[in-house]
Symmetry: C2
Subunit: 482 residues, 2 copies
């Protein structure tokens, strides 16, 4: 290259000069965003005032400079009525990028309020995967109405995607890929790309396929850019590549992207033919969803989305509470069996919730660790015994520590023998909790059930029941309350 300024040579180096002592700053990319990169309260207030006054021009001017992702955020922060007013004030800013970035529930709600032609018009501008995401949640009738408005190619692509089960690679993949034959040279590939204007906008990888459309290799764009024109792709491409079977669940797709640090990957059908690709920008949403879903599932909060309609949130949460009511009743039966002892020594009633509660906490800790490890494929049959032994030792340390504290306090306030009883009950319950926290999720995993969903109720049942039973049973055994 020709160096034209003193700086150019430096600019062109791949390794940047070492920067000494550069420190955090609070520069942000947009004055409408705060330091956490979210829309400022003042800004949202201004938009709201504009909407209230019906001043569409003012609202438009406020929203126009925003990034599509920020427009989507703005819509989500408003109430349903405000959303509709905003949408009519900024129609031409409601681009496909905004729609693609919207929360599922909010998008569904907005789509349902639009006529089929309008939805179809938006769908045509979107890439297939985004269009599918937009349409998949509509009622069957609405879906058909939208599909009828689409041109044949788009409809065929979307119908084919909808034929795959939800949350599989086939549903989520993009059908726009660049696939070329092996004998092509780097130069003719570049010429081909320059001539074909209707290729997908962004792509990161070229798939090399044989005459049966089976992937035989892959080329990062950076390798192509660095290779002389006359070299054949077969000499540049990597033959080892991660292929995603079209039927696998999005959770497995997300794990493959993480494990192999993929930017994009080929999706193949059961005959091994290339049928699409998945790119990491779509997968990051899945990774984030799947990773945070466990916290919501373990607490029985269902989808746990603040935009979920109230009746759906109620439906998923109340089922969970009813299941827990069942486990609470079992614990009550155990207490009832010791009713006579409690009547004689009310201290038992005062202290018993402590044993159950701390056991519950210890069980939840171990369960959260196990569920996470199972989700990340780190806890498998190969190391279950080792992890169980590990958790047993942690639980024993925890149990003894808490037992000493509560035992001494109880001994001082009530009687030494009651202190001894609660201490021993605490060790028993915390160790039980530790073992249950590993075994319950592992067993559900073996039974092909989602450990995050089912484990919590069972672990709580075990720690509650064991807490009351160990404490009250030991108390009666040593002659307390008799």
């Amino acid at each position: 290259m020709v160096s034209e300024t003193d700086h150019d040579e430096d600019l062109m180096t791949a390794e940047l000069p070492v920067d000494e002592g550069a420190r955090p700053d609070d520069r942000i990319n947009d004055e409408r965003l705060d330091e956490e990169n979210t829309l400022k309260v003042d800004y949202i207030r201004a938009v709201r005032e504009g909407l209230e006054e019906g001043d569409k021009g003012a609202v438009y001017d406020l929203v126009e400079p925003l990034h599509p992702a920020d427009i989507a955020d703005l819509i989500e922060l408003l109430t349903r009525d405000e959303r509709r007013d905003l949408a009519t004030a900024i129609t031409d800013l409601m681009s496909s990028d905004v729609i693609a970035e919207l929360n599922d529930y909010v998008r569904e709600d907005m789509m349902e309020s639009l006529p089929a032609e309008a939805v179809a018009h938006i769908a045509e501008q979107l890439e297939t995967d985004d269009a599918v995401q937009m349409i998949e949640d509509l009622d069957y009738a609405d879906q058909q109405a939208v599909l009828a408005e689409l041109d044949d190619d788009d409809r065929a692509a979307i119908e084919s995607a909808l034929a795959y089960p939800e949350e599989t690679a086939g549903r989520l993949m993009s059908r726009e890929v660049v696939a070329v034959p092996e004998h092509m040279s780097v130069g003719s590939l570049i010429d081909f790309l320059r001539e074909n204007v209707d290729l997908a906008n962004d792509f990161y990888e070229i798939f090399v396929v044989d005459h049966k459309h089976h992937p035989v290799g892959t080329c990062q764009l950076s390798w192509i850019l660095r290779t002389p024109r006359n070299i054949a792709l077969s000499d540049v491409m990597k033959r080892d590549q991660t292929l995603i079977p079209v039927g696998i669940d999005q959770e497995e797709v997300a794990l493959m992207f993480q494990k192999y640090a993929l930017i994009s990957a080929a999706v193949v059908d059961e005959n091994g033919r290339l049928v699409g690709q998945m790119t990491v920008d779509d997968v990051v949403h899945i990774i984030s969803e799947e990773a945070s879903e466990d916290a919501l599932l373990m607490s029985g909060a269902g989808d746990g989305d603040i935009n979920e309609p109230i009746r759906e949130a109620y439906g998923s949460r109340v089922r969970w509470l009813i299941a827990n009511l069942g486990t609470a009743l079992i614990a009550s039966l155990i207490i009832a069996a010791f009713g006579a002892a409690i009547e004689k020594l009310v201290a038992l009633a005062i202290l018993m919730p402590i044993v159950a509660s701390i056991g519950g906490n210890a069980g939840t800790q171990t369960m959260a660790v196990s569920v996470r490890a199972i989700a990340m494929n780190q806890l498998t049959e190969a190391n279950t015994a080792r992890i169980l032994w590990r958790e047993f030792r942690v639980a024993l340390l925890n149990g003894v520590t808490i037992a000493v504290l509560i035992g001494l306090a109880t001994g001082a306030i009530f009687t030494p023998i009651l202190g001894g009883v609660i201490a021993l009950a605490m060790v028993i319950n915390i160790v039980t909790a530790g073992l249950a926290g590993v075994l319950v999720p592992v067993i559900f995993e073996r039974l092909k059930q989602d450990p995050a969903v089912a484990s919590s109720v069972f672990v709580t049942m075990i720690t509650d029941s064991m807490g009351f039973f160990a404490f009250l049973g030991l108390a009666v055994a040593v002659g307390l309350g008799t």
Copy 2:
């Protein structure tokens, strides 16, 4: 392009033929992996047997075909002793890719057992960001010993990264970027890339900078490949780009990548100079960590990594249990205040844990939803009131449902008046739980505390205390147990 077979034209299309009726299959990429893409138990058993028999050749042959990420998984699944034996059996397979993929704790443990020169030798092969990750957890003395072994450039780059706080963009970024001046043409850029062999291996974006090294635009590689040679980069590049300030936390980086669907992004210092880049393959790990960390934090499981040394796991978990012991004692004090009533009516002791337990579950549900929404920047000052009102209504529906169930059951088994008392107490506690589940995390967020860490103890304290107080207080108020 020249079409050489019947298939070629089809191959070159950007949109693939619509695939009809393709269905899930169980094809996998490697016979050593099961359908979840994890190493099969039989395979691991074979490796273990080889290690036990000291048959290094057999072990090497077994491991040699694995992908580096799978070698890392294999190491993690083994015990500490087995790991060391394996490492000596497969030294030349222990590539930098394997080291980079290893779990932090496992890597640290293995690095500490190696001499400084060996660690330095590995560090030199890694990209800066991976080398930093490998070295940052070593003791200061070990770190210095490794740094002393490195050549000047590598040492300077790593020391500069280590000068930034942990988990900031400056620590995590890669210093290898392609930065070029604006006036350059697409053709000379391609020539430059072809001539410079020591560029970073994979990159996805070219940064265009001015003479002060300030980013002025960015070019996806796909745009460059599709543009004629004589066009200037300034006509291809996008001027709007997301810049990452070098000092921001990895959590904010992860949110920016998700929000703007980034593949890579420029990192700038406080003077706006380009100092590095972050790429999505490094960020996916952060996204996954940050998203799943909340479940672990809410349960007080600390890092929650099954590879964490036992004394660290004990330290973080026991602190949490002690905090919960405090809240359990408060609940016990409330029960003690009603000791006389419990002595007279033991049914109160039998039923009271139900009210507290279901309230705790309801509070955890709402808290999980709120913590997630706060983490995703979906719950901000702009919509707190609306979400609080939403959660109030969900809680009221849940409360009334559970109240009817438990009220009827209690009425039938004990007395109607006790049924009425427990029903009313249940509504009060579930609604309190719903409000606390939103307000506690929101308040901690405003106080700049991590809502996932602090909320759980407080929400549990509120629901436990309110559960016992409402139930026992109402019972006494209506004359029960007196």
